[in-house]
């Protein structure tokens, strides 16, 4: 580190920090650094502003390259919003952490009791500790889950709560997250990014490692395994790549060794849940769900859901699958419960809650409703559940008319509303540009049921408001995350994950992942090959194919037609056979075929599909691959921004795109695990490559032209196939169609000759798992073999035969056509056998009510 900047004194770093006098985690009211922050502030000072700025940028770059994102629903541009992480962590003193741990464990214990009671005896309601309407009116109380019990001591497996510090210095519980709490993966990623980019910050600190918590989580899953299975198969059920925390789903799945799956990868039958893999159905024991509970089983819960598994609840009732968290646990996220927590704590524990809760008034009681309405200006009004949006409004910010409207709604259904005290949070320093700024801060803590009780993650996910002075602290609104440090007196035992012998079972390749890998293979080949070809034709157009004679040559026209065939963008260049076409029209069409993502078959269109397929299997790429994928996204953004007039500058962007893509392919070649996933990916590549080649050969070579024209065509073809030097070294002649056909179809030394590729395809297809010895399996390898033997027996002389009347090589044309059709059938059969998705619908309902007297 050769920073010539002198160490700057703290004063410049915190200039203007104390303009609004809120309670701060790091600084006292006189601007003094609190005791347990001193070592950290020292370490920060040592960096100096310039270096700190560099590290902050480096941190964000690393996270972006690692693909750490938080998706924002309904925002196409923000689809993958990079994760914002501040280099300053939040420090929690050992003393305070001890209280936090006790408070959170106490709360987890009570929430677990509530869950048990509400789906069991309901004593809380019978004895009116909790008013029955509060539970019965909440959409999270799922009647089909009544009396359902899973193995294990605790019902609530994973629990998260948001904490903040009020002006009096006491810690508050803001909200509970109990059905599919998110954030623990981000917390882990924050820690490793910080440790990598600013290791100097850790100096003189003994930060407790997070690994132990994930071990406890593994233990928690073993505890709920059906029939006490010792090696349960755990599946992480995700709504898919469009979900806001999809990054975390993939990250956790690969960190924990779980299989990432979507609803239609799973199926309930024979009393079990199964995952569809390329080897057939595999039994699933535990589902870690990141789907709202109401969406998990369209058969008994929300019928309109396409994210769940029809029949899941029945399998849970049989005790053959366990779900974390159990279905129905969103009832605990009922904000109205906050109003009754004191009594509930008393009821179950005979203790007061260690943590204060936000003062809450539930409208379902007359007195409280009146209070709500009278004190609207001082309260935050919320719905008791989060369906149709949380509907959170701050009373004092409403207009008169809005207030009246709200009061009318509260009076109509008072039991749906709560009023909560407005709380102010404490601030922590966030590094912004060249100084520290105070930002309101919320800490999400995580607990997991283990060892008969609950274990807490030593740390958590700290989030700060994106704007100075703003109270909005959420990822949806673009918050800033912080790593969270809890110090231990003794150096922690370095627990590495998965020391248990569990989940050492064979990994499976879910059908969806197989399908996406297949398409990653196909699309990457399609992007490479079509862009190379278009590039060559574009060169041809801009460098003479046109200008000399003022109209395009037959060779150029033939090449343009081939582009249309390759991209499938009919009629395209085939349309204006007779018309005089201007060069500019050609260039505009080419621009469209490269840069317009809404044209099906265009390069950007294919790139977008490729990226989608990559995202769908994001748990399978290495960090290095993510860096390349990130580059590809940048390159494709540049292409999308290119105006038609700038088409001549397209070459650089295309080269960048292809360069990244080639590194991606090379990275896979070097490091991708040679399992079924690899087979699918390679098969996809081969199938795409051959179909595109056959399309090219048919379009370019079937018609006979004058020697000069054929020369141009062959040159373009061989250059685009990167076969030019092969041709020259092997045949050492002028371009001629006979040796070219030999090279392209039959030459076994040429890795992209049709014959070589079919040979490889045969090899790969034979390695695929044979699901059942049924019709499919034989027909796929038979189809490939038919192609192979057909090519093997090709006679070049035969292919060269020209019908002089029409100057057409009918045999060549027919051969290409037949092979293409067979290869398309191979793809169809693969899809049917290995990727098959099921579609389901609700059985029709019909009333049968007639007049009765």
């Amino acid at each position: 580190m050769q920073s010539i900047n002198p160490n700057i004194p703290l004063e410049t770093l915190i200039k203007g920090y104390f303009t609004n006098k809120s309670l701060d985690e790091c600084f006292g009211f006189e601007g003094e650094v609190k005791n347990h922050w001193k070592r950290l502030v020292d370490n920060v000072e040592k960096f100096g502003v310039e270096e700190l700025t560099n590290r902050q940028l480096e941190l964000l770059k690393l996270l972006k390259e690692n693909g750490v994102t938080y998706n924002v629903y309904g925002d196409t541009d923000g689809m993958n919003r990079p994760w914002q992480l501040d280099s300053m962590p939040l420090l929690i003193s050992p003393l305070e952490w001890r209280i936090t741990e006790r408070g959170m464990k106490q709360r987890a214990f009570v929430l677990n009791k509530i869950l048990e009671d509400l789906y069991g005896e309901r004593r809380l309601l019978k004895e009116r500790i909790v008013p029955p309407e509060l539970i019965y009116a909440h959409s999270g109380f799922l009647r089909p889950c009544d009396q359902v019990v899973q193995p294990g001591k605790n019902r609530l497996i994973l629990y998260a709560a948001d904490l903040s510090r009020g002006p009096d210095g006491k810690v508050w519980v803001l909200r509970d997250r109990t059905q599919a709490p998110s954030g623990m993966g981000y917390a882990l990623e924050n820690r490793s990014a910080l440790a990598r980019v600013v290791p100097e910050l850790f100096k003189d600190h003994n930060v407790t490692k997070l690994g132990g918590f994930f071990n406890s989580m593994m233990q928690a899953f073993l505890d709920i395994a059906p029939q006490g299975k010792e090696q349960p198969r755990v599946v992480l059920l995700t709504p898919g790549p469009r979900n806001e925390t999809y990054f975390e789903h993939a990250f956790l799945a690969s960190h924990m060794g779980f299989t990432l799956a979507q609803g239609d990868d799973l199926i309930a039958r024979d009393g079990y849940v199964w995952i569809k893999t390329v080897e057939g159905l595999e039994k699933v024991d535990i589902i870690l769900r990141r789907i709202d509970d109401n969406y998990c089983d369209p058969m008994e819960l929300y019928e309109g859901s396409h994210l769940g598994i029809p029949g899941l609840l029945e399998v849970i009732r049989k005790g053959n699958v366990s779900v974390a968290n159990p279905l129905g646990s969103s009832i605990l996220e009922n904000t109205g419960l906050m109003a009754f927590m004191h009594n509930i704590f008393k009821y179950f524990l005979n203790e007061d809650p260690i943590f204060k809760m936000v003062a809450t008034w539930w409208g379902g009681q007359k007195k409280e409703m009146d209070y709500l309405i009278q004190h609207l200006d001082e309260l935050v009004i919320k719905k008791i559940d989060r369906t149709n949006g949380s509907g959170t409004v701050i009373g004092s910010q409403l207009s008169r008319a809005e207030k009246d409207n709200l009061i009318r709604r509260i009076k109509a259904q008072p039991y749906l509303y709560v009023g909560q005290e407005e709380v102010s949070f404490s601030t922590t320093p966030v590094f912004n540009r060249d100084k520290l700024e105070p930002r309101y801060t919320v800490l999400r803590t995580f607990l997991v049921a283990a060892n008969g009780g609950y274990e807490i993650m030593p740390g958590g996910l700290t989030r700060c408001s994106p704007e100075k002075g703003s109270f909005i602290v959420s990822n949806q609104d673009g918050g800033i995350a912080k790593d969270t440090w809890v110090e231990t007196a003794v150096r922690g035992i370095n627990t590495s994950l998965l020391h248990n012998s569990d989940v050492k079972r064979k990994a499976v390749l879910p059908s969806r992942a197989a399908e996406n890998l297949y398409w990653v293979g196909r699309y990457s080949q399609r992007v490479l090959r079509t862009s190379r070809f278009i590039r060559i034709v574009l060169r041809n157009l801009t460098q003479g194919g046109y200008s000399r004679t003022g109209q395009e040559s037959e060779a150029t026209r033939s090449l343009l037609h081939t582009i249309t065939h390759l991209t499938g963008t009919y009629p395209g260049f085939l349309d204006d056979e007779e018309n005089e076409v201007q060069l500019n029209d050609r260039l505009n069409e080419i621009h469209k075929l490269i840069c317009n993502p809404s044209v099906e078959g265009s390069i950007l269109f294919t790139v977008n599909n490729l990226l989608k397929a990559m995202y769908a299997v994001r748990d399978r790429w290495t960090v290095d691959n993510w860096r390349i994928i990130d580059d590809m996204e940048d390159a494709s953004r540049k292409l999308a921004a290119l105006e038609p007039e700038g088409i001549r500058h397209v070459f650089t962007s295309l080269d960048n795109l292809n360069g990244s893509l080639l590194s991606f392919l090379e990275m896979n070649r070097q490091s991708m695990y040679r399992g079924e996933g690899w087979l699918m990916y390679r098969i996809g590549q081969l199938i795409e490559e051959m179909s595109l080649e056959l399309t090219q050969y048919r379009a370019l070579l079937a018609f006979q032209f004058d020697e000069a024209i054929e020369f141009q065509i062959l040159e373009a073809l061989l250059v685009s196939n990167q076969n030019l030097s092969n041709y020259r070294s092997v045949y050492r002649t002028y371009f001629d169609i006979a040796p070219a056909l030999d090279l392209l179809f039959l030459n076994k030394q040429n890795p992209i000759s049709i014959l070589s590729q079919l040979e490889q395809l045969l090899k790969f297809i034979d390695q695929l798992p044979h699901v059942d010895k049924g019709v499919h399996e034989t027909s796929i390898s038979n189809l490939v073999f038919e192609c192979y033997s057909k090519v093997r027996l090709l006679s070049i002389e035969e292919l060269l035969k020209v019908d002089p009347e029409v100057e057409f090589r009918a045999a060549l044309d027919k051969t290409c056509e037949e092979l293409s059709a067979k290869i398309a059938r191979i793809s169809v059969s693969l899809t049917a056998q290995y990727f098959s998705h099921t579609t389901y619908q609700s059985a029709e309902e019909k009333d049968n009510f007639k007049l009765e007297v």
Binding site: R122, L125, K126, E127, R128, P131, P132, E133, Y136, A137, R143, P144, D146, I267, A268, R269, D270, G271, P298, M299, E300, P310, G311, E314, R317, A412, Q413, Y415, T838, T839, Y840, Q841, S842, A843, E844, E845, K846, D847, N848, F849, K850, L851, E852, V853
Partner: protein, 293 residues
């Protein structure tokens, strides 16, 4: 009174279906005025899994699934039921409870009544509605007893709504039924429940059968009976009292109860998920036959 009920549901699929999961709610309940002596559910083709359980509302539901490819699915439920008088109706008739005292009295009912509260709240087919409240208001005079208010309401619904099959579907909102003044028994029941709940009273949905009596001199035709639906209102200290707004009467020996729920959604006779994308068609036949004691 003894009845034999045969309820046949048949699905025909345009394209074969590989897998289906179903929930059947066709087993008559046992309660103070009814015993279900025999109940049997047959599924063709015979299912791979089949079991019974008791749901949240105390109804018997069957769950079955089939993994064999099939293009028709037939579910036949046959039950024998003995009916006796509904005493709650007589008790309610002489009850002096005022309708606006009901909430307070339920709270006083204590432990037993805690689940009654859910029947005062909106549910899937019965939302909170100002329009429904407006429609109902006139039936709830300040000093009216619960019994008289319920009867006035039942009459108002019976008089204002025309029974017209085929005009509404399961998803027709109650407010449209008020607007268009047409519907089937399910709409009558949903409307009455909705009126009661919007006045703060607990009411639930009853699914079942009703015996049809052929016109004089005509023989009863097989398969012309139907599922029926009516309403049950909670009377503090007495219990659930039934009203049939479609026919404007108090159910007696002709109404056979299958299930209770908050609305149709909780007690739909047959609900399922089929794996397949083709079209489906459905026919239902019901026979209610009085049998020898």
């Amino acid at each position: 009174m003894r009845y034999k009920i045969t309820h046949v549901t048949e699905y025909k699929y345009q394209e074969p279906v590989g897998l289906c999961h179903n929930r059947v709610c066709l087993t008559p309940r046992n309660n103070s005025h009814q015993t279900c002596q025999v109940s049997d559910i047959r599924v063709v083709p015979s299912p791979d899994e089949f079991n019974y359980r008791t749901d949240f509302f105390g109804n018997t539901v069957a769950y079955f699934s089939s993994y064999k490819e099939h293009d028709t699915l037939q579910v036949t439920s046959v039950s024998h039921v003995n009916l006796s008088g509904r005493q709650e109706t007589d008790l309610a008739f002489s009850s002096s409870v005022l309708w606006h005292d009901v909430s307070a009295l339920i709270i006083a009912d204590g432990v037993l009544a805690s689940d009654v509260f859910q029947y005062t709240l909106p549910s899937q087919y019965i939302p909170h509605s100002e329009a429904v409240r407006e429609f109902a208001k006139s039936c709830f005079q300040e000093d009216a007893t619960l019994w008289s208010a319920c009867n006035v309401l039942m009459q108002k619904i019976y008089k204002s709504i025309e029974f017209k099959p085929g005009f509404t579907t399961i998803n027709t909102p109650v407010e449209h039924v008020i607007r268009d003044k047409k519907g089937v028994c399910q709409d009558f029941a949903h409307l009455m429940i909705s009126c009661l709940r919007n006045m703060g009273l607990p009411a639930r949905y009853v699914s079942g059968y009703i015996e049809t009596v052929p016109p004089p001199g005509k023989e009863k035709l097989v398969g012309t009976d139907a599922s029926h639906a009516w309403v049950s209102v909670y009377f503090p200290t007495i219990g659930w009292v039934e009203f049939d707004p479609t026919n404007c009467l108090h159910p007696t020996f002709h109404h056979i109860t299958v299930a209770y729920g908050r609305d149709y959604h909780d007690v739909a006779p047959l609900r399922g998920i089929v794996f397949g994308s083709g079209k489906q068609s459905l026919t239902v036949k019901v026979d209610v036959v009085r049998s020898a004691e």
